[in-house]
């Protein structure tokens, strides 16, 4: 029996949920914690003002995770985001249960503008003494608490008490009820934002694999644009379709949707500019 790539991906995400989130949380348990939130694994706290100054020693696994994620993203793409992250993964899986008619489409919002403005606010507002976005609006915190609340009375109290409703609303609006289930990741994940920059940098190196479109095969059917959970595929006025590597995660949904086999996970050299010009899919403006 052949398992599709998407089923394999969801299976890995479910394993990551068991590994990182309560009630099992196998991985944090080795370090005496019950969840990725507030444990040595907390990556976002490291990016906060206090994290840098005081918490880096206690958040050593978070540091290890961040460095590993960024290296992997530079070399191969954002596999943490697409295949492992239990938080983004669970909202994507959850959104599959919601009928398309009930989903909110955020594609009209320029995601990188929101993402990097949020990242700037996340990094600099605490330094300026304005306040911190860390923890209060964290989907790692709220999803961990939701999973934890099954067995943990403290999580239940926190969910009911500290703006838990706001966080749950954010989770629903930007997660489960968002088209693609990844709006939170696309807008408000500071790790994802930096990760995307490493992905983009790596995509500039021709021999590193990324999701790429062969313009000579593309017939502009828009199926990939509709299917992309992070709205990374953009259509231009000349009908060409391009992947924005600042948003792309290698979930490979677009590869499966493409009837023309125009999209693949491969090195840039196979799609060199010369080939594209030869195939006539790139138009050079006459001087």
């Amino acid at each position: 029996m052949k398992i599709s790539n998407q089923k394999k991906r969801f299976l890995i995400i479910i394993l990551a949920v068991l590994a990182f989130l309560p009630p099992l949380a196998f991985v944090p348990r080795f370090f005496g914690s019950m969840s990725i939130c507030g444990s040595p694994f907390c990556m976002r706290m490291l990016l906060s003002f206090e994290g840098f100054s005081a918490m880096s020693k206690t958040l050593f696994m978070g540091l290890f995770l961040i460095v590993t994620i960024f290296i992997v993203s530079f070399i191969a793409g954002r596999f943490w985001c697409s295949h492992v992250c239990p938080i983004g993964g669970i909202t994507e899986i959850g959104s599959k249960a919601v009928p398309d008619t009930m989903k909110i489409n955020y594609k009209w919002i320029p995601a990188p503008a929101v993402r990097y403005s949020y990242l700037a606010a996340f990094l600099f507002l605490p330094v300026l003494g304005v306040g911190s976005l860390c923890c209060s609006y964290c989907n790692f915190s709220i999803i961990s608490s939701l999973f934890g609340s099954v067995t943990n009375p403290a999580s239940r109290v926190l969910l009911a008490g500290f703006g838990g409703i706001t966080d749950i609303l954010l989770l629903l609006l930007l997660g489960i009820f968002a088209a693609g289930g990844r709006a939170y990741c696309n807008f408000l994940c500071p790790i994802g934002a930096i990760d995307a920059m490493f992905n983009w940098l790596g995509s500039k190196i021709r021999f590193l694999k990324r999701i790429r479109i062969d313009q000579s095969k593309c017939n502009s059917c828009n199926q990939c644009i509709k299917a992309c959970p992070v709205w990374a595929i953009e259509k231009y006025s000349d009908n060409s379709v391009k992947i924005n590597q600042l948003s792309c995660i290698p979930c490979k949904i677009c590869i499966e949707k493409c009837q023309q086999d125009a999209i693949s996970y491969q090195k840039e050299e196979y799609l060199s500019e010369k080939d594209l010009i030869k195939s006539g899919s790139v138009y050079l403006e006459p001087h």
Partner: protein
């Protein structure tokens, strides 16, 4: 300027504006204190400031046990008049897989805690009569063997702006934090 660039700039500015308001906002019924338990009185990094006239408050206390302290402590919310509260602990887990050491919790008391252990407590306060006047409380952690104070978290009920974002509300918040931290340090010095 191209239309796309204008949209990107407007989106960025709007995002930063919303983020600034969100970062400044502190729910008036919630406080989080990041703490360390030590043999000589502990450290609480964020005093808890709560608003008046609310039905329910939740205080989250997360902490780490600093070596060489080990053993256990009882947790008491001290202040006048007494207010009804319940303390919940995230540990030990219901499903104990035996992979790691976890402390025990029962009757507002943590036992069997070791150096570098972490604890998470949620204190739910539901006063019978709403708190209408400014008052100061302390969540105190007493060592079970010696009855010495191993941690104290100041908890203050005070007038806060509804959204807690105006300068008027913000200034006393910061001043109060500094004041309470100063008081804590003083009490530590005097107890030594």
């Amino acid at each position: 300027m191209k239309k796309k660039s204008v949209i990107i700039i407007i989106t960025g500015v709007a995002t930063i504006a919303v983020c600034t308001i969100a970062a400044m906002y502190t729910p008036p019924g919630f406080g989080h204190s990041v703490t360390m338990v030590t043999r000589d009185g502990g450290i609480s990094r964020h005093p808890v400031l709560l608003g008046l006239n609310m039905e329910k408050y939740v205080i989250l206390v997360t902490g780490t046990v600093i070596p060489p302290y080990r053993g256990g402590f009882r947790i008491v919310l001290e202040g006048d008049p007494k207010i009804e509260h319940k303390i919940y602990s995230s540990y030990p887990p219901k499903l104990h897989l035996g992979m790691n050491h976890f402390h025990d919790f029962g009757n507002d008391t943590i036992t069997n805690i070791s150096p570098l252990d972490k604890f998470t407590l949620a204190v739910s306060i539901e006063p019978r009569q709403r708190i209408k006047e400014e008052s100061n409380y302390e969540l105190k952690f007493y060592d079970l063997k010696s009855d010495n104070l191993v941690l104290s978290v100041p908890v203050s009920f005070m007038e806060l702006d509804n959204f807690n974002i105006s300068k008027k509300a913000r200034r006393p918040y910061t001043e109060q934090c500094e004041h309470l931290t100063g008081e804590m340090n003083k009490s530590k010095i005097s107890s030594n």
